[in-house]
Amino acid sequence: MTASMSQCLMQMVQTDYAISDYQSEIAPRWCSGCGDTAILTAMQRLCRDEQLPPEKTVSVSGIGCASRLPHYMNAYGFHGIHGRALPIAEGIKIRRPDLHVFVTMGDGDCCSIGAAHWLHAIRYNMNMTVLLHDNNVYGLTKKQASPTSPHGMKSNTTPFGATLNPLNPLTVTLGVSNVSFVAQAVDWIPDLLYQILRQAYHHKGLSFIRILQRCPNFMEHRFDDWVRDPSKMRILTHGDGLRLAPDLSRVYKNQETHDPLNMERALALAALEGEIPVGILYRNPNVPCYDELRAGERPNTPALVETVLNEEFDKVGIWPDGAAAQVGE
């Protein structure tokens, strides 16, 4: 198989990737202090620790601040159109199952214009890692209310304050059929963010991580209460889940042992008010994946594609006398 051949060749050339191998030549152009940088670093750490070949890794995004991430990864990337990151990623995954697919979206990108794709992607449960960068605001366009903006938030589109209660991406995701992995992370505890991302990567199926992320320019003090008061962060632990380093464990004492198969508790945690749960809320490795159900018997290698196309062309070809018979032979 061509894919595995090239993989072997590449491994012969390079067997040890460093973080710098995943950093593109473009320096991140996010605002100073933006939480997106922590997410990018966690992704690059994951790639290094899992030794993912850059040519076998692809990140797909829509539009927004978060969606700039593929530019900063030295891997394949697809900066798509608004709200359409998931269908593009699904197309890539079904055509190239050998690639490691990461999807990055903002809260506006995923939960507003891309909401329909989001729900169906959860239901299709294709094997990919989805990162929702949720800063509660449209930052790229300089502060408009997003579906996750808190009630009463003043913005350019809601000068008198947002009139609706925010949408909770966790409860919505948990409510969709075939959901298989839902987690929540925060950018200001980068070690847990990395661990959650790693668990998500190893999960078979669509792993959905909502990452609460600070926007220092347009939602400056949104998460200050939680950043400054670690007791408001509830860390979810379980046997094969997160492991807090001793120094972090001293800071984040509010911990709960949670069974990730317990949907009822997961929903309760997702709807928690006042505290932010961090960890894996729900994980079920037995949910069927659409890409596995619909996988073809033969892999779509270039040689196979050429053969099939030629067969189809031959059906309508006009041949000189006797030539068709020779081809037929």
């Binding site: 460093a18 100073s32 940088t37």
Partner: protein, 732 residues
């Protein structure tokens, strides 16, 4: 350099044939080939006095201000933008082509040409847009390009502005004294016999009196009631003498109250092209200065009736130049001496230093046109490549003189310093490089003068004795590119043989500047790409490690030929040595500016050594049997929530809670040598001595998750430590 476009600026290395060195210029100049088409700090408008606080304003900024006010968002505004920008380009080309004039006149001419060329009737859309934009033009003045005349014109303009301000202040004060002294004499006159005479009374009433008043009778009545308290004779004489001196002063043009002066002397000229002339004029005018100053002092005492002959007469009898105060000198005009290095004999420049050292209120401009000097100076001296680059540095040793050094290209950015120098009440030296070096061909003076600053050959700096008592307040080196580096680095984009875009960061060093000069090109050799070898080393890298190998012959800079083809220009050891001298001078300036101060570094090294020795000793000693447990510290300060787990906090060493770092780049942008990322891209303090305590505190304040703890200052001599320690307290 400010630029807006990079048309035809892409160097390439394909098909590079051997080229003559004389045709080459540094590769980084590629962007600035067609300077007239680029928006930059020239032409410069010498703004007329009274039109805002600014002395100089680049045309491009004026146009930007106009467009901000006049061009509305939308298609119409965009049309106006394009038209006004074309007008700006036309004015720039005209000025570079030698046209001179005031901004309003150049605008009118350029606008008329544009309308004529467009074939549009007057008052059409183009004409109306340009006219609407012109109405937002709220300043005017002479427009100058960057050439050999620029330094003298800018400094003379600034000096005139200062003298005009002085003249206004002078006239206000002198005229007030004249009027008040005149009032004293007038009121005394009203008590005199002549003032009460019939004739005087009749003339006071005017011609329209119809004979109903008997002025003889009136005079008789008034004469009987005339008060006898007339002013003493000597006081009247003193006041008359002071009045005459004030009215006939020869320093500034006369004001309204001085119109009655019978002599009406021409004001002295205060601009000179020779120090000797200036000093001779100063000596010749000294009696007038003393006379005027005495008159001023007498007048001020008289208007307040505080003159006591028994006390003040002896003082004024022996009054001489040693009694002149700085305030009195500051009231009078200061002299401007314009010297041109290379044109003015060197003895004049030496004399200028003597005049500056005397503390006379003079402003000296030394315009430098040739920085490097000849390669074989006569008489022979060790100055290869160091012609006249140290004049201002030498003047700083005078200590009481304001010193200003800048290249023409940066005059606008140094405008505030220029004004400060003019306002300084002692001697001031302005050393300006024009960029019009005769032996450099094909490089615009603007680009060459900017390159002199970039290459550290002619750094911009000011030394202002009025700014404070210490060197940190007085010396300012901040208006230089990438100030803390030996050589500034820039990105060079070029195409390789296959036409693929390549990008490289290259340093701009002394050698890059030297290859522009025809006299120095015989010490260079151009090598096309076929001849490039791995043994070749960029000059800046070679300079950083001069002892690394024996590769002096293979030290090179990147150059381009007129067709923008890239070459390596191998430079001679002499140029490398001159570059080392240049770098040495730059480092000395950095030390003066407090960067890598050798005294501080030595103290720190000694402190560190002592501390390490103490730690080793403590480790070697056995622990006491029952050492008391230290009380646990409590982290109560917001926003840090972590308990102090690092031993660094205990002994004042700065530290970071690395595990909580979110890689936001805030601290590494403050100082990338002090803060670095570990293998997980999380920050740690690599070297606390690689920067200042201020940087540590600023990084702590900027950290989004408040995990940087600045500890205690390591350099006790750092300025404003008390304030910094206070700011660091929340992050302890």
């Amino acid at each position: 350099m400010q630029q807006a476009q990079f048309a035809n600026s892409f160097p390439s290395i394909k098909d590079a044939a051997p080229a003559s060195v004389s045709a080459l210029r540094p590769a980084l100049f590629a962007r600035y080939g067609a300077l007239s088409e680029l928006r930059h700090d020239y032409p410069l408008v010498l703004v007329d006095e009274g039109q805002g606080a600014t002395l100089l304003r680049p045309l491009s900024r004026i146009i930007d201000d106009i467009l901000k006010a006049a061009a509305a968002p939308g298609a119409d505004g965009e049309a106006m933008r394009q038209q006004v920008l074309k007008l700006e380009a036309r004015i720039r080309r005209a000025v570079n082509g030698g046209r001179a004039g005031r901004l309003s006149a150049l605008w009118r001419t350029a606008a008329a040409e544009m309308v004529k060329e467009s074939g549009e009737a007057p008052f059409g859309p183009l004409d109306s847009n340009l006219d609407a934009a012109r109405r937002h033009l709220d300043l005017d003045g002479e427009v100058i390009g960057c050439n050999a005349e620029t330094p003298a014109r800018v400094v003379t303009h600034a000096w005139k502005a200062r003298q005009d301000a002085k003249a206004r202040r002078f006239r206000k004060r002198v005229e007030s004294l004249i009027l008040r002294l005149s009032d004293i004499l007038k009121s005394d006159h009203m008590k005199s016999h002549e003032a009460h005479g019939a004739e005087a009374l009749a003339s006071a009433m005017g011609r329209d009196v119809d004979g109903s008043i008997d002025f003889d009778a009136l005079s008789g009545v008034l004469e009987r009631a005339r008060p006898e308290d007339r002013l003493p004779e000597d006081r009247v004489k003193r006041i008359r003498h002071a009045l005459e001196a004030l009215r006939c002063q020869p320093f500034f043009g006369p004001g309204r109250a001085s119109q009655s002066c019978p002599k009406r002397p021409e004001p002295y000229n205060y601009t000179f092209t020779s120090v000797s002339d200036a000093l001779n004029a100063h000596r010749a005018r000294l009696p007038d200065v003393l006379e005027f100053t005495k008159a001023m002092t007498v007048a001020e005492l008289e208007v307040d009736n505080k003159y006591r002959p028994e006390l003040h007469d002896p003082v004024f009898a022996r009054f001489d130049e040693s009694d002149l105060t700085a305030e009195q000198m500051d009231l009078l005009p200061s002299a401007l001496i314009c010297l041109r290095d290379g044109v003015t004999v060197s003895a004049e420049i030496a004399r200028a230093y003597e005049a500056l050292a005397c503390g006379l209120p003079i402003t000296v401009l030394i315009q430098v046109d040739d920085l490097l000097g000849p390669t074989a100076p006569e008489p022979p001296r060790n100055s290869f490549g160091a012609g006249t680059t140290r004049l201002a540095s030498m003047a700083m040793g005078l200590n009481n003189a304001f010193v200003f050094q800048a290249a023409s290209a940066h005059l606008f950015r140094m405008c505030r310093a220029l004004r400060r120098g003019m306002d300084y009440d002692g001697p001031a030296l302005f050393c300006i490089y024009s960029g019009a070096t005769p032996s450099v061909r094909g490089v615009a003076p603007y680009v060459l003068s900017a390159a002199a600053t970039e290459a550290r050959v002619f750094p911009n700096f000011t030394y202002d004795p009025a700014a404070g008592a210490d060197l940190a307040s007085r010396f300012d080196l901040s208006v230089n590119p990438q100030c803390e580096a030996d050589w500034p680095e820039h990105v060079l984009d070029y195409e390789d043989r296959e036409g693929q875009g390549c990008r490289e960061r290259i340093a701009f060093s002394f050698a890059d500047f030297a290859i522009c000069d025809a006299r120095y090109q015989r010490f260079c050799h151009a090598v096309p790409q076929d001849g490039w070898t791995p043994a070749m080393m960029p000059t800046a890298e070679h300079l950083a490690e001069p002892d690394e190998g024996n590769a002096i012959e293979s030290s090179y800079v990147l150059g381009i030929d007129p067709e923008n083809r890239l070459f390596r220009v191998v430079v001679d050891a002499k140029i490398v040595e001159a570059a080392l001298r240049c770098n040495d001078a730059w480092r000395r300036l950095l030390e003066l500016a407090g960067v890598n101060n050798s005294h501080a570094l030595r103290l720190l090294a000694a402190e560190r050594k002592a501390r390490e020795a103490a730690e080793r000793k403590a480790e070697a000693e056995p622990e006491p049997a029952l050492a008391p447990e230290p009380a646990p510290a409590v982290a109560e300060a917001p926003p840090v929530a972590a308990e102090p787990a690092d031993e660094g906090a205990a002994d004042g060493v700065p530290w970071i809670e690395t595990a909580r770092c979110t890689t936001c780049n805030e601290c590494t942008q403050v100082n990338s040598a002090m803060f670095r990322y570990n293998e997980n891209m999380q920050a740690y303090i690599a070297d606390p001595d690689a920067g200042t305590y201020r940087q540590l505190v600023e990084a702590a304040e900027g950290c989004q998750v408040s995990i940087i703890h600045p500890g205690q200052p390591r350099n006790p001599d750092e300025p404003n430590l008390a304030e910094l320690i206070e700011r660091a307290a929340p992050f302890a």
